[in-house]
């Protein structure tokens, strides 16, 4: 075996681009391992752990480090060439020059060349992201801070300054927003309308906006607050500002607030503000109060309010499979098969499902359980009913998010199918900008492999899922649904319905 280590000083590329490139290069003949990373301490440690480093390379965080291991020198050379030409094939390769239209290197430089800029979307590595957001704010821009691993202190400083300056700070860890009809981050293409959303959960925002679209309603603005906004230390500042902006917005007639349970003082403040804002506000705090208990209910209530009607949420369908269908799914199972294995790419869906399943089935195991008793000893190994958020840090270290890269979930699907206990595998399929080009195709392949394994052991495994998306999304929800149905997945319109269907199949329901 041969190895190559090469440093590109001063060359910076973002982590997702590098991971994709490494993945492509690893498919080349004769290549055993490839990793192209920015030589930060953390990344170097990762490479060392993986056995890819020979000593400590003389490279710093602004240098690109490439390591290749392969069968022979020729294969390695080919791999290195492939990577190098891809790295140099950009409009402004490296930091040394570029063409007439060299790209700006900072927010300030960008603003000088485009004075009308009014929002900064920041998705650089977390250790730098807080500072970038601060600069953008000081320069008078509104901010969407996609990056996570930004400290609470930084978040509070940003939102305090934002309030002083009259600017909006979305995030940190804000994955989704739709402003003036423009999708920011991971967002779906939804019908424009008069319902405004403010959400501390990206996938929660995505689900509610898509369901509203499904029900014939439309979105005026969708503001993300970041996952930590509703903790006491941050005080719900971004959600309050978002609520204020939507209350004043002539294009918004109904407002929806979405979050996992806020800290009590923050929840109270928000509910008071909502009651006094002058427009109908639908609140879904995922089990901690508010008129909507699920994301699905929130969408129904909102659309009804927008139409000047009331929604009969008490009588929403349990799910979309009739009694025969449920019986058939149950009958296909062997006596040992009794467990639900829910594998999510969206953390809010995982949370909502646990809320729904726990009263029906008892304690649910998870890497981020509702009760500490439910904590899995090993997150890589399911037991009983298990609900996993594959977007959690444990699983994404050194990897792209599961909404972008389906390999890890594919492997876990196969692993669950090989487990004799598994009765139902529950999946979310999230579409929209930022997500994989063809999640259904990726999943169908894994599902196929899983079925083969189960069949070889004489078992049938049920797959239940839902598509979070619209037909207008780049992936086209209708086509994605076709592929999934073709792979034998039982599709429901929402996560809540999928969870209830899974529960019915393992025999808890009526």
């Amino acid at each position: 075996m041969s190895a190559l280590q090469k440093i590109f000083p001063g060359m910076y590329r973002d982590s997702v681009a590098l991971m994709r490139l490494s993945a492509e290069a690893s498919e080349l003949p004769g290549i055993e391992a490839v990793s192209a990373i920015m030589a930060t301490e953390a990344n170097i440690a990762l490479l060392a752990e993986a056995g890819l480093l020979d000593g400590l390379p003389d490279a710093g965080p602004n240098d690109l480090l490439l390591v290749i291991q392969g069968g022979d020198d020729a294969a390695i050379a080919a791999g290195a060439d492939f990577i190098e030409s891809a790295l140099n094939d950009t409009p402004d390769a490296g930091g040394e020059g570029g063409g007439e239209a060299a790209l700006p290197h900072s927010v300030e430089a960008a603003l000088s060349s485009q004075p009308a800029a009014n929002l900064a979307l920041i998705s650089c590595p977390g250790e730098y992201a807080g500072a970038e957001a601060m600069k953008a704010l000081r320069l008078g821009l509104d901010v969407m801070l996609f990056s996570d691993n930004v400290s609470v202190a930084d978040e509070v400083a940003l939102k305090t300054l934002g309030d002083e300056m009259g600017r909006l700070v979305m995030g940190p860890d804000c994955g989704t927003a739709i402003i003036n009809g423009v999708p920011l981050g991971f967002a779906n293409v939804v019908r424009p309308g008069n319902i405004g959303l403010v959400a501390a959960s990206g996938t929660g925002l995505q689900q509610v906006s898509c369901l509203i679209d499904d029900l014939g309603g439309g979105i005026s603005q969708a503001i993300g607050t970041g996952g930590r906004d509703l903790k006491s230390e941050v005080g719900g500042r971004a959600m309050m500002r978002g609520l204020e902006m939507l209350a004043a917005d002539t294009g918004t007639e109904v407002i929806v607030l979405i979050s996992k349970p806020p800290d009590a003082d923050v929840a109270k403040r928000l509910i008071d503000m909502a009651e006094n804002c002058g427009k109908p506000v639908v609140i879904n705090f995922l089990g901690a109060g508010g008129g909507a208990a699920t994301l699905e209910e929130a969408a129904h209530l909102a659309v009804a309010a927008a139409n000047g009607e009331t929604a009969d949420i008490a009588n929403l369908p349990r799910h979309n499979l009739d009694a025969d269908g449920v019986a058939k799914a149950r009958a296909a199972l062997g006596p040992a098969q009794g467990s639900i294995r829910a594998l999510y790419s969206g953390g809010t869906f995982a949370y909502e499902t646990m809320l729904i399943l726990q009263p029906l089935l008892g304690p649910i195991w998870s890497s981020s359980p509702l009760d500490p008793d439910g904590l899995l000893d090993d997150p890589w190994q399911s037991r009983g009913h298990t609900v996993i958020d594959l977007g959690d840090d444990i699983f994404t270290r050194g990897r792209p998010h599961p909404m972008i890269d389906h390999r890890l979930r594919g492997e876990r699907i196969v692993q669950e199918a090989a487990d004799a206990e598994t009765a139902v595998i529950l999946l979310d399929v999230v579409l929209g900008y930022g997500s994989h080009d063809d999640p259904a195709g990726e999943l169908a392949a894994a599902i196929g492999e899983a079925r083969d394994i189960a069949e070889a052991a004489g078992r049938w495994v049920n797959f239940v899922g839902f598509v979070c998306g619209t037909d207008a999304d780049p992936q086209n929800a209708a086509r994605q649904a076709e592929v999934l149905t073709g792979a034998g997945v039982l599709l429901t319109p929402s996560n809540a319905q999928a969870a209830r269907l899974a529960a019915d199949i393992v025999g808890s329901g009526p």
């Binding site: 997702v16 710093g60 700006p104 009308a116 979307l121 600069k135």
Partner: protein, 470 residues
């Protein structure tokens, strides 16, 4: 006061994942892409310091003042004088050197050699051994030239008896000084100190200085900026390419020297000396640049760089609002083009006060005026233009008196702001000669190098700590 975000067209600056910009464009919004890399070379604390300094009205106002002073400067070459009489605070046992402060025992080979030579030249010691002992003893005071209103190329050694150019900024009155250029080959500034070197130094002190001073007296002074501006139109960048400026200088001095009434033979010798050295103007250029930048120095709160300088061990910068403080880092060894038989292994780390020219917007910043320079890094003339443009990203503005024809007759980028350097991780570019690491061998190559990021990281941390209002 509420955000008017919903009432305007969305125009998004995208920092990070490029796919987000594609999505915005695809959905009919406007995305402004950036080529972002971690600020301050990846130093998280320095990056956070920069964030606190962006769009600070007081810093910006101080910088405008510093910049205005720099632009208004009119350095006039008035004459030649004795260093010990001219340089303020120059005691009779003081020797100044280039770059930030450095202790005798830590100095690099060429600088030590040049100091030995100066000690002998001054007559404080008869030979190398005694000179060495004297330097070891601590009886000689060593200080940066910059601390005494002066600059010097390479080792930059100035001792009391040496003749220095006298430059006065006629706008604000500040004075600057620099030694006269010895020429190429075995010279003191590379650490040589044999008989030939000392003889030349003595001749310069006796004859050259006198002829120059007399000629300048007849002329009533020479406007340095005018020569620089003309030279930029003629292929010079007045740091590593000085041939045109030197010719213009000689053109002005000859008639004046002839009218000075001095001995013809001496005048002839002086003129021949100048004519034989294409870099004769460099030292005047350096004093002129120091003159412009000293006018910009000392403005409270300003983050403008007023000196970049190296002593063969450390690279240091000075910042207008930071007084006498130096922000230093290890001086890099330059990866350039080496003369036959030499390589990077032979090179002294970067050395000399001559980066004062870049600090003033000349030298590497004016590379567009002198495309031949890029041959040092295997580039094309187009690269020279790109480098000059690139420097516009880290400077406050441009100097309309120093025009680069290749940039559509625009002024050269000037007034480096440490915030912009750190924020964008774009470093000032310097054209430089490379000295052999052993004293006395001389120049072994030339190249293009960058000022080290660590200096700017330290400077922004200082600026954030000292921000008015905290």
């Amino acid at each position: 006061m509420s955000s008017d975000l919903f009432h305007s067209d969305l125009s998004v600056v995208n920092v990070g994942l490029g796919s987000f910009a594609d999505a915005i464009d695809g959905a009919g919004g406007q995305a402004i892409r950036t080529d972002w890399r971690p600020p301050a070379g990846g130093d998280v604390d320095a990056g956070a310091a920069v964030a606190a300094l962006i769009n600070d009205a007081q810093i910006d106002a101080a910088n405008e003042t510093a910049f205005a002073n720099y632009l208004a400067a009119q350095p006039i070459l008035e004459g030649v004088g004795r260093a010990g009489d001219c340089l303020p605070g120059m005691g009779e046992r003081t020797i100044t050197h280039s770059g930030p402060p450095v202790a005798w025992q830590d100095m690099c080979g060429p600088v030590k050699g040049a100091i030995i030579g100066a000690i002998i030249y001054e007559g404080w010691a008869a030979d190398e051994a005694v000179a060495q002992a004297l330097a070891d003893s601590g009886e000689v005071t060593f200080a940066p030239c910059h601390h005494h209103n002066a600059v010097g190329p390479m080792a930059g050694i100035i001792s009391p008896s040496m003749p220095v150019w006298i430059v006065k900024n006629s706008s604000s009155g500040n004075m600057s000084y620099c030694t006269l250029n010895e020429g190429l080959g075995r010279v003191l500034r590379f650490g040589a100190f044999d008989g030939e070197v000392l003889e030349r130094l003595n001749w310069m002190q006796d004859v050259l200085a006198r002829v120059m001073d007399a000629a300048l007296d007849v002329l009533g002074g020479i406007d340095i900026k005018t020569i620089m501006a003309q030279a930029l139109h003629m292929g010079d960048e007045v740091h590593n390419r000085n041939a045109a400026a030197t010719s213009l200088l000689i053109k002005a001095l000859i008639p004046a020297a002839l009218r000075s009434g001095l001995d013809q033979a001496e005048i002839a010798a002086a003129i021949e000396f100048m004519a034989g050295n294409d870099h004769f103007f460099l030292n005047i250029s350096m004093a002129g640049c120091k003159s412009m930048l000293d006018a910009a120095h000392g403005i409270a709160g300003s983050t403008i760089v007023t000196a970049m300088s190296r002593n063969g061990v450390e690279f240091g910068i000075r910042v207008s609002g930071a007084g006498d403080q130096w922000f230093t880092a290890e001086a890099p060894v330059v990866d350039g083009l080496y003369f036959p038989g030499y390589s990077m292994a032979d090179a002294a780390p970067d050395l000399g006060d001559s980066a004062i020219t870049e600090t003033a917007g000349l030298g590497g910043f004016a590379m567009a005026a002198s495309p031949a320079i890029v041959q040092f890094v295997g580039g094309t003339p187009a690269d020279a233009i790109l480098r000059s443009r690139e420097m516009q990203q880290i400077t406050l503005g441009r100097n309309p008196a120093l025009i680069l024809p290749a940039l559509n007759f625009g002024g050269t980028a000037a007034a480096i702001d440490v915030r912009k350097v750190a924020d964008q991780s774009v470093l000032p570019i310097i054209n430089t000669g490379i000295a052999h690491k052993e004293a006395g061998i001389g120049q072994i190559g030339a190249g293009i190098t960058r000022a080290p990021m660590e200096c700017f990281a330290k400077a922004v941390r200082w600026a954030a700590d000292n921000k008015a209002g905290g």
